[in-house]
Symmetry: C2
């Protein structure tokens, strides 16, 4: 299989976790139409109300990188940026060997 996976956290400023999650849920609907996107999940950590986790699987890193060009994505990023507590960290990069569900 050998796909490109990213698993990372975005942290919002106090009180903005839910708003950030809602923007990312909207983004997931756009981004998932991009070439090579197999998975784009938005999750929360039950113990951390202001953080949102994004778990992505793509055919390649290149496909992931191109997803920023999907119409509407940049607008959502610019809505999300002022909610963030600091710069987003680079997520964990994994190579998917196989499994089930994508």
């Amino acid at each position: 299989m050998n796909k490109y996976a990213l698993h990372g956290k975005l942290s919002a400023t106090a009180g903005n976790g839910e708003k950030l999650a809602s923007i990312l849920l909207e983004a997931s609907q756009l981004v998932s139409t991009a070439k090579g996107c197999h998975l784009y999940l938005i999750s929360k950590d039950p113990k951390d109300a202001e953080s949102v986790w994004v778990t992505e699987v793509w055919d390649s890193q290149e496909d992931h990188d191109c997803s920023l060009l999907v119409p509407g994505v940049r607008e959502l990023i610019s809505q999300a940026m002022p909610l963030l507590a600091g710069k987003p960290e680079k997520g964990q990069v994994l190579e998917v060997l196989g499994g089930a569900g994508i």
Copy 2:
């Protein structure tokens, strides 16, 4: 959506990462037939040859817990156990809010 996700690492003793991955890939085929399983991915960290990551999404924690009862799973666990470097740590638990691909 609100599903139960687990993201965790199993580390093999030196030289056994590939064998562990192959057992987990076999397990993913069995486990993914269980009730409530949406995702069961086996990945590796390009920087850590002896570790294997498992990323799961289930309808509920209960469905996840029941997956150990799928025929054949216990046998695969007993094949994997001697390959592990120490006890498996509990993975990261997340609540999937939504997204795309499952």
